[in-house]
């Protein structure tokens, strides 16, 4: 039934193309974003291709190449876990009602995996890798086989991981996990940064050790075969290719088994949910007793609960907390930092005040139904700012003290704290105002933080707010500079602490007062703007 087999393959490939096309058709913003990212990826592909070709003949070229392919494979393995929304054909449970046999289905899905920007990027990278290590016709022959094998291994790896974890990916907990993907990217960037710095000091020779192992691990081994063949070790090259073939076969077998089980076994996820014993009792007493009564305490309690329980909010907070700590402390550790970097913590955390109502999603209607006056809106916004301060004030203080200790410049502590508090106040004030003026939706699924079509709004809100925040903070900054340059200023620089704190508090109140009437007046418009996710 070969006609039937190619039939399934072409249908699935066309399905993938239609999904891509329809995704683009949904909105021009999305189409523009997609085309822009496609162009960017192609540019990067070309650049890395040139880079890899330039590496040709370098002593450590083979090590670099093998490591790159290994990183690429890890990327493909991790991708489906964090970006499950990116490819709907990754979820075979959508095809479960169709009468398909596993073998043609596996083939069809594998071929359809090759459609997209990711595979093109991978292909460019693998091609560049082979060009940089292959010398001679035979080596290129091995290289071409290696490229195809490595590409297929990457695709099969992504599919296998996705299929094996499909229950996780389609469950609520799994989707919560996906939202934390931004964190992985952020921390991954730090690791890459750290690695690059080490490489910069130690040279490429450091790569040889790991590469020695990785050239036997598929799909790196498929590319390493081209290098082995260049050196005339054809036996080793064949062995390396064979390893990749074996890996591909094993991956496809595992994938196929999971797929069969997935397509034939009933989905018990809802049954589980129903018989699950009532979750542990969530008591409010501990937290609530410490908070003020009335609307203020109620709103603070909900905001603080959301920091912990809502994956989007949690991811945003953890990112802010991490970067707010990493930037000043790492810089201080490396001896490159200024003590004023400690203000970073206050700035990063202050960002959380932005788009407050967008963080509520369309549940904002529950808030809107209870705001009937400017006073209500003021109390609501103030409570949200207070909830933020409960975490931010101690944290910013801690980071500042820590940075000061690392740099060992204790006399500067009061003024840095003062600037921090003023900055925090400026961020809260501008955050409250932009929350009312430029609300936008935060999609709850996936890793995006702005709904399609609203990125301009988000950009204006955050960037404009930050510029305004910096301007608002300018008097305290100017005062700090003046104290530092004027003779004998050090004697009373401690005054900047109370001045900064008072200034921060004053502009926060002013910002809330300005934002409140606007919020009360524009409730339906805000609801409309935050309900698009």
């Amino acid at each position: 039934m070969s006609a039937g087999v190619t039939g399934v393959t072409s249908v699935i490939v066309r399905l993938k193309l239609s999904l891509l096309r329809n995704g683009l058709r949904q909105s021009t913003g999305r189409a523009v974003a997609y085309i822009a990212s496609a162009v960017a990826v192609l540019l990067v592909s070309v650049l890395q291709l040139i880079g890899l070709i330039a590496l040709r003949g370098h002593a450590h070229a083979a090590s670099v190449v093998v490591l790159l392919v290994a990183v690429l494979a890890v990327g493909w393995a991790v991708m489906p876990l964090f970006f499950p929304g990116g490819d709907e054909t990754l979820d075979p449970t959508r095809l479960v009602m169709l009468p398909l046999r596993p073998r043609p289905l596996v083939r069809a899905l594998l071929v359809s995996s090759l459609v997209g920007i990711g595979p093109v990027f991978t292909l460019c990278m693998l091609t560049g890798s082979v060009i940089s290590v292959a010398h001679g016709g035979t080596a290129y022959g091995f290289g071409v086989v290696g490229i195809v094998l490595a590409l297929l291994v990457c695709m099969a790896l992504a599919r296998t991981v996705a299929t094996a974890n499909i229950r996780l990916l389609t469950s609520r907990k799994g989707r919560d996990l996906a939202v934390l993907s931004g964190l992985v990217v952020a921390i991954g960037a730090q690791v890459v940064n750290f690695g690059a710095q080490r490489l910069g000091s130690g040279g490429l020779a450091q790569l040889d050790g790991p590469a020695e192992v990785l050239k036997w691990v598929p799909p790196g081994s498929a590319i390493a075969a081209a290098d082995s063949a260049s050196e005339g070790s054809y036996g080793i090259a064949v062995l390396q290719l064979a390893l990749s073939v074996a890996a591909l076969v094993v991956l496809i077998a595992v994938w196929s088994r999971h797929l069969t089980r997935l397509m034939t076994a009933p989905d018990g996820s809802t049954l589980q949910a129903a018989s699950e014993p009532a979750a542990r009792r969530r008591t409010s007493t501990g937290l609530a007793r410490l908070l003020p009564a009335g609307r203020t305490g109620t709103v603070m309690e909900r905001s603080l609960r959301y920091v912990w329980r809502d994956p989007k909010t949690k991811a945003a907070w953890v990112t802010s907390l991490a970067i707010g700590l990493i930037v000043p402390v790492f810089n201080a550790l490396q001896g490159t930092g200024s003590i004023y970097f400690a203000c970073f913590a206050a700035g990063m955390l202050g960002v959380q005040m932005y788009n407050q109502f967008g963080q509520d999603t369309s549940a904002f209607w529950m808030v809107a139904m209870t705001i009937s006056s400017t006073r209500d809106a003021y109390v609501e916004l103030r409570a949200r700012a207070l909830a933020l301060l409960v975490i931010t004030l101690p944290y910013a203080t801690l980071v500042t003290v820590l940075t000061t200790a690392l740099i060992d410049d204790w006399p500067k502590l009061p003024e840095v704290l003062g600037v921090s508090f003023a900055l925090l106040g400026a961020m809260l004030a501008t955050g409250a105002w932009t929350s009312a003026r430029f609300p936008y939706s935060i999609p709850q699924e996936g890793y995006k933080n702005v709904a399609p079509g609203q990125s301009g709004l988000a950009f204006v809100s955050i960037l404009g707010g930050m510029v305004a925040g910096a301007l608002l903070c300018a008097p305290v900054i100017a005062l700090t500079i003046w104290v530092n340059v004027s003779a004998g200023g050090d004697d009373w620089s401690w005054l900047l602490l109370p001045v900064g704190a008072a200034y921060g508090a004053a502009i926060t109140v002013a910002g809330l007062r300005l934002a409140a009437p606007r919020t009360a007046r524009r409730l339906p418009e805000i609801l409309l703007a935050v309900s698009k996710g």
């Binding site: 609520r172 709103v299 329980r309």
Partner: protein, 257 residues
């Protein structure tokens, strides 16, 4: 007789599309009122504008004698809303959600907790009260939404498709609560496209189609001579007698292709 809701010349356009095209409506107080119409008739848009969640392009809305847009303090305290298609604060447990909602409305904490416990009990949610709302089923969400809408004992309750996707047991529970509520003189306005349900529950109906009110009045009056509300409704929206079967001559008969 006082009216619970008075709507005059209500319009709403979304771009080119007119969602609500000039509605005038007076809903009597103390009744169980059904707003019926096919999908896309403008029911949700109308209810959103009446409850102050969506700003109309034109027209005025009064709830128990107070203008929704000019006197929000009086209106918001007197109405309860269960919207369709909007989320709740789903990362709270059912119990926390009620506590939050009641306290936001300014009720004393002890009173909120007492009412919440009773509502959870009556609506058969006591067993799931400590579970996060995000893990609730559709029926449970509707019930917790209803509880939140009832907590402050409103005079008028607006429910958008309260029975959509709800199993028969939960539907019966919701029904019981609503019947007890209207028996005390309160008003319920709810939208639905399930005619049997509306017919069995409501004593007053308004039929909407394509953004306009096609008929309104006591149930018997709107039904007229038709044997059921379903038939009367199909005639009103002009869908009666449309034959869908003539082109599908291959359908049925047991052949596999």
């Amino acid at each position: 007789m006082t009216s619970a809701v008075r709507v005059q010349g209500l319009w709403k356009r979304f771009g080119q599309q007119v969602a609500v095209a000039g509605i005038d409506l007076e809903l009597p107080a103390g009744k169980f009122i059904g707003l019926v119409g096919p999908n896309g008739a403008g029911k949700t848009t109308t209810l959103s504008m009446v409850t102050g969640l969506l700003r109309p392009d034109q027209g005025s809305v009064e709830v128990v004698g107070h203008d929704v847009w000019r006197d929000p303090v009086a209106v918001k305290a007197r109405i309860g809303v269960l919207p369709e298609g909007l989320r709740l604060f789903e990362r709270l447990s059912g119990r926390e959600l009620l506590g939050y909602s009641g306290r936001l409305r300014g009720l004393p904490g002890a009173e909120v907790d007492k009412r919440a416990a009773q509502l959870l009990d009556v609506l058969d949610l006591a067993g799931a009260q400590h579970k996060l709302v995000v893990d609730y089923s559709t029926g449970m969400r509707k019930k917790i939404g209803l509880a939140a809408a009832l907590l402050h004992n409103p005079e008028v309750l607006f429910l958008d498709e309260p029975f959509e996707g709800v199993d028969p047991v939960s539907a019966q529970t919701i029904r019981g609560v609503l019947e007890r509520y209207t028996a005390s003189g309160a008003t319920v306005v709810f939208s639905s496209h399930v005619m049997e349900l509306v017919e069995s529950l409501c004593d007053w109906v308004a039929v909407m189609a394509a953004g306009r009110i096609r008929a309104h009045g006591p149930l018997a009056e709107v039904r007229g001579a038709a044997p059921s509300l379903q038939q009367a409704f199909l005639e009103l929206v002009g869908a009666y007698g449309r034959d869908a079967g003539s082109d599908l001559d291959w359908l049925g008969g047991g052949a596999t292709r």
